[in-house]
């Protein structure tokens, strides 16, 4: 793999890392805040993680558009 490709792969990978990080942060904090609610807490945590993932993906695409325009 040449250096240009490696740099490119690394750039997109680094930008994409915000998606799982945001998703995981929401999962962690929602679960921590709603721990007393039992199974509902898991449901809320997973839902917020899914929303975080979708929001993260939109932000990722906007970052791509901004850095390539």
């Amino acid at each position: 793999m040449n250096r240009r490709l490696l740099a490119q792969g690394a750039k997109v990978t680094l930008l994409s890392l915000e998606i799982p990080l945001l998703s995981y942060a929401l999962l962690y904090f929602t679960h921590a805040l709603t721990r007393g609610l039992g199974p509902l807490s898991i449901f809320l945590a997973l839902t917020s993680a899914a929303v975080g993932f979708a929001v993260g993906c939109r932000a990722f695409w906007k970052l791509i558009l901004r850095s390539t325009s």
């Binding site: 490709l5 750039k11 997109v12 994409s16 791509i64 558009l65």
Partner: protein, 320 residues
């Protein structure tokens, strides 16, 4: 089962894939089970449904394992993978409505569900162990197999991408399973690697055959199966992250499921350089950064897959 006997199904799987691929390609072309390689300027016609070779290789490896009276969980996992491959084959041959596929894929996971009936918890780093009880085998396992298969199926489209990313993910999961002492999962992973690696020889740029839905669904199911068997579900999720990002990008765009008809395909110039259509997708993100040809794009995406697989491995080794 000792190491020597575990190596036999691996050899069977690898040798079959390597030797049977050339005649299979000829047969698929003769039977007109073909697809157009749209990312080449000359648009050549190539053999489709090549994943059938991995399906047969896994079946032969399962028969070999059954002769050695191996662990039933290994056979259950391989049976589930064969069923997923059969769903893909049906899709390749007769075309299946998208809405039926997840249900059939979930049904294909039944052998694995039965072998994991006693398990009920899922571990998430820093959040701890979440107790799901009977929901884990009855809902989460089929959901995991169906979701993973569909994710890899939807992120396909370039020479060597689907099987390449699958090979990287399965390799890291197999190594982790062996490191953690989950030998059944490592054996399943070994059998899959033994068929995926020789398959890549015929699927990498310039591809002689495409995996088809048979292969792409199998790749996702393979990642899910190994991670579930070794209780490394979180690592499996991290390995599937590039495919999940691609799927979510496509779904959050203006016309999900209709982007290709609305915006058109990736354009290919005479020198093979790719020009992305305007809708969001992971491959298009790479193409937007600089002009690149198909092999460059696939290598960049394999790098990303390797980065996520390494991240998953680091988390598993550090926290679990």
């Amino acid at each position: 089962m000792n190491l020597e006997t575990a190596l036999v199904p691996l050899l069977v799987s690898a040798l079959f894939t390597y030797t049977a691929a050339p005649p299979l390609i000829k047969w698929l072309l003769r039977a007109q089970i073909t697809g157009v390689d749209v990312h080449k300027p000359e648009k050549p016609v190539r053999a489709e449904m090549g994943g059938i070779i991995s399906l047969i290789a896994i079946s032969l490896a399962s028969i070999t394992l059954a002769l050695f009276q191996t662990d039933p969980q290994v056979l259950s996992a391989l049976a589930a993978l064969i069923l997923v491959g059969l769903v893909g084959m049906t899709d390749d041959l007769v075309g299946m409505r998208q809405r039926y596929k997840p249900f059939l894929l979930a049904a294909a996971s039944i052998p694995l569900v039965l072998s994991l009936a006693n398990r009920g918890s899922l571990w998430i780093p820093a959040a701890g162990t979440l107790e799901f009880g009977y929901i884990y085998p009855l809902v989460l396992v089929p959901l995991g197999i169906a979701t993973a298969s569909n994710l890899t199926n939807m992120s396909a489209g370039f020479n060597g991408l689907e099987v390449g990313t699958g090979t990287v993910a399965v390799f890291s999961l197999t190594m982790l399973s062996a490191y953690k002492g989950h030998w059944q999962a490592a054996l399943v992973g070994g059998i899959l690697l033994a068929t995926f690696v020789p398959f890549l020889r015929y699927n990498m740029y310039p591809a002689k055959m495409f995996p088809g839905d048979t292969g792409t669904l199998l790749v996702g199911a393979a990642i899910a199966t190994i991670s579930i068997m070794s209780s490394l579900e979180v690592v499996g999720m991290i390995c599937l992250m590039p495919a999940a990002i691609d799927f979510t990008l496509k779904m959050t765009s203006r016309r999900p499921f209709q982007q290709r008809s609305a915006f058109g395909d990736t354009k290919v110039s005479d020198d093979g350089t790719l020009q992305p259509p305007p809708y969001p997708a992971l491959a298009h993100a790479f193409m937007r950064f600089s002009s690149m040809k198909e092999p460059d794009l696939v290598l960049s995406m394999l790098f990303m897959q390797a980065a996520y697989s390494t991240l998953g491995a680091v988390i598993a080794v550090t926290f679990v």
